[in-house]
Symmetry: C2
Subunit: 147 residues, 2 copies
C-alpha cells in the first residue's frame, strides 16, 4: 500500500484517509466548520507554511470537499467553503472531538462545546443504527470484510 | 502550531489528531479492530516499512491506545491489543467508513460491511444526541469555542 494510492483501495478507511488523512487537513476542515474561510486567517491560526496550506486546500478542492469562491475582484481573492461532501464530515469531526475530550483531556479543559442550535443545551454524541436506534460499539457491531 | 505539539492544544480536534493523525495510524487501528494483532501480519497487510510500523505501534502504546502482550516465550513475541481507550475509537472509525462509502466510493464496491452482532442486519450509522435522540449535523449543532 502506498499513501498516495489509498484512494484506489477497496477498504473505506483507506479511501477516507486518502481525502482527510494528511497532516493538517482535518484542522483545515475544522476551521471551515467554524466559519474560517480565508487563506490568511487559516494560515495565522494553524501556523503552517503557505506551501503546505496551499497544497491541502488544492487537494480538498480537487477532492470536492471544499469549493473556492471569489469574494473580491481586482485583485481576485478567494474564500473556501465546504461542499455537501465536506459538510458530511461533521459526524467524523464530532466523534473525534468526543473521543479526545473523553480520553485525551487538556490541562485547561476543552476549547470546544457542542450546543443544540434549537435549545442551546450541551450535546453528547452517540452513534446509533439508523433503523433500530441501537448504539453502535465494537460489542454490538462486527465488520465483515471482502479482501 | 507544530504537529508534534498538538497534544498541548486546547482544541480537541488537535488533541485527537496528536494520537491518531499520523499517516498509517488509523489503518493500524482498523487492523486491530479486525483482530490483526501481530507485527508481521500488519506489516504484510499495510506494506509499510518495519521502521514506520514500529514507530506507530510504540506511539499508540505510549498513548494508551494499544497494549502489548507476550504470546510466546523464547524468543518473546508480542501482540497488540486495543485498550478501552482504543476501543472507544470505534465510532470515529465507523463514521469515517460511512462517509467514505457514501462520498468516496470504490470502483469495485466497498470491502467492508457493518452488521449487527445480534441480528446480522446491515447497520447504517447515525449520530444523535444522547439525551434527546436528535440527529447531529452541522445544521442542528453549533460549536462554541474558547480560544
Amino acid at each position: 500500500m502506498k499513501w498516495n494510492e489509498l484512494h484506489n483501495e477497496a477498504c473505506p478507511v483507506a479511501r477516507g484517509l486518502s481525502v482527510i488523512g494528511d497532516r493538517w487537513t482535518m484542522l483545515v476542515i475544522r476551521d471551515c466548520f467554524l466559519g474560517i474561510r480565508r487563506f490568511e486567517q487559516m494560515q495565522q491560526r494553524l501556523g503552517i507554511t503557505r506551501h503546505v496550506l496551499t497544497d491541502r486546500l488544492r487537494k480538498l478542492e480537487a477532492d470536492g470537499v471544499l469549493r473556492r469562491e471569489a469574494y473580491q475582484e481586482r485583485p481576485t481573492r478567494y474564500e473556501y467553503r465546504l461542499t455537501d461532501k465536506g459538510k458530511s464530515l461533521y459526524p467524523v469531526l464530532v466523534t473525534l472531538i468526543h473521543w479526545a475530550d473523553t480520553h485525551v483531556p487538556a490541562d485547561g479543559g476543552s476549547s470546544v462545546a457542542l450546543l443544540s442550535r434549537e435549545t442551546d443545551a450541551l450535546i453528547a454524541p452517540k452513534l446509533v443504527d439508523h433503523a433500530t436506534g441501537s448504539e453502535i460499539t465494537h460489542r454490538t457491531v462486527r465488520a465483515v470484510t471482502r479482501e
